[in-house]
Symmetry: C2
Subunit: 335 residues, 2 copies
């Protein structure tokens, strides 16, 4: 591609428990070049920070630009973040990530401003800045992967609550006395019932009880993770057990959607994350129908759009890149 | 009391399904005089509007002022409200209240500006303007009476959502496949499990199943409503069944509180309504303890204050009176 003048690009990084995504992001939110590595979080923060830098450098190379063309770096990370200092206070499912100074580590590599925030909030911002949530004043993004996270946008702003931890909508109880969440979390919460981890738990319990399924034929070995794409394959092949468990998860997500609509009256609910990237409308249709059944005000519900994420797996890198460009999680007013 | 100069007072009206409260409210939110009547909503909107005016006139008389001293009238009513036109679009548990023009009816009586909003939102505003929520930027008020309603304050403003119906936090599902709500509403919602109506339903079901209780001795006849004060009497007398059912309701309210804290990260949860006016800290202590157990982030939870309403049954009239004074549900910035 044609070389632009210095100062046109930012780097957006999406740090996840299983993979690191990095991209060079242009002013309009388009991805110029990207790279991906496994996180291997078991190696600890120092090794992961090195891999983050390596992935970012590969994204810069893939974009055909140099570090001189990068004006700022943004990163979304799972857990509690001190945005002002650029520090991961406490990483979720990231061994050793306690008070990890991301700002410092990245500045040693490339001394430009670094912006750090919570991963799902950054992905929500991506959808708001350039995705399906663009121009929508009140919406909620629900990301269903191994866990369930989300972001709440009220009056055009990401709502962060009184201590910066608003949006933990995966930890809303929808079944009193329900199952415990896989890997901690809140008992009976939507995460404990409808996340990929919960779906996998339910499938394995059914298998242990002797239920028939083709899932063992779809994984390299029976202990391998039932990823969202494996679940989608099983659905494609008409596997009754997988279909049943996923439809049940969609039902729980529908109850959760109705609760969010009743309490917060959004214009739009956006569904993303691995489960929706793999299953899309097949999963979303029952969510929509259950939400409609349980919403208080049917007239209102007809006006709530329940839609898939537009940016998909790129919401995080694009959100991070634009957060770095704007220097905040606020979409600037049009000029 | 000494007569003030013209223009110092507003009237605040709290229209409920069972009673009408009206008060003359001073600039600082204090109640100068008040009156109360049964709603008798079965008589239809015209009769109720007449009773609202009669109650208001009695409040004016009780305050020792005249209609010339009233600059504006505010009213909170249950249901969907068109605030701009001062119309009850659809009243909750109010037969015939469809597109009832409150503004017009009150102006015929006393031609001053009329402000109408949703009852629980007005009560939340009362707590924000002059109650326990004063100066608190992010809080949620939960009113537990025959139903459960609430108000959400974010960044110092009552949050009304995209179509003005935010805050229906009673209609959040906390038990998938749970019981239906008494009088409609959402199945498995906290209202269906922990409202006074749900508590009465559970008590009557237990009685029908032969459980022992002193409740029949506390009501004039067995078909009379188990009011919150009768429930409090039964608790005082150590009635095991009532205590058990109320503690269970408190447990559900605690799950609901944890969900609100996890999703919205407020500084404070305020509990009001008949059930808390009658039972107070006895009911609130288990809510607090369950909320703590189910909240995601214990450190955060230690900072969330879970408290009783300060204004109690007066939150609605004071909120309505101040809404009329300010001409909105916004507390003016200090001068």
């Amino acid at each position: 591609m044609a070389k632009k003048t210095k100062g046109d690009f930012t780097i957006g990084i999406d740090l996840g428990g299983t993979k690191i995504l990095a991209a060079v992001v242009a002013e309009d939110g388009s991805v110029i070049g990207s790279a991906k590595k496994r996180t291997q979080s078991e190696d600890g923060p120092d090794a992961v920070l090195k891999r983050i830098i390596k992935t970012s450098q590969e994204a810069v190379d893939a974009a055909g630009v140099t570090l001189q063309d990068i004006t700022a770096i943004g990163m979304g990370a799972p857990g509690v973040i001190d945005m002002a200092r650029g520090v991961v206070v406490s990483g979720t499912n990231m061994p050793g990530w306690v008070n990890v100074d991301v700002n410092k580590a990245l500045r040693v590599w490339n001394n430009v401003p670094v912006w750090l925030s919570n991963d799902v909030r950054v992905a929500t911002f991506g959808e708001q800045a350039t995705g399906i949530g663009k121009g929508v004043k009140n919406f909620i993004a629900v990301f269903v992967g191994t866990g369930i996270g989300g972001g709440i946008v009220t009056n055009g702003q990401i709502y962060s609550g009184s201590r910066g931890s608003a949006g933990e909508i995966g930890h809303v109880v929808i079944m009193a006395d329900g199952p415990y969440a896989v890997g901690g979390g809140v008992r009976g919460s939507v995460e404990a019932l409808a996340s990929r981890a919960a779906i996998e738990r339910d499938l394995r319990m059914a298998m242990a009880a002797g239920r028939d399924t083709i899932l063992p034929q779809l994984v390299p070995d029976i202990n391998a993770k039932f990823t969202s794409s494996i679940l989608a394959k099983a659905v494609d092949k008409g596997d009754a057990l997988t279909i049943q468990v996923l439809q049940r998860a969609a039902y729980y997500l529908g109850l959760h959607a109705a609760s969010l609509i009743n309490a917060l009256d959004p214009e739009m609910l956006i569904y993303g994350g691995g489960v929706f990237e793999a299953l899309g409308e097949w999963m979303l249709a029952p969510v929509r129908s259950v939400a409609r059944q349980y919403a208080l005000n049917k007239t209102n519900l007809d006006q709530v759009r329940i839609v898939e994420s537009k940016l998909g797996a790129s919401a995080g890198i694009i959100g991070a890149g634009l957060m770095a460009r704007y220097g905040s999680l606020t979409v600037p007013a049009p000029v």
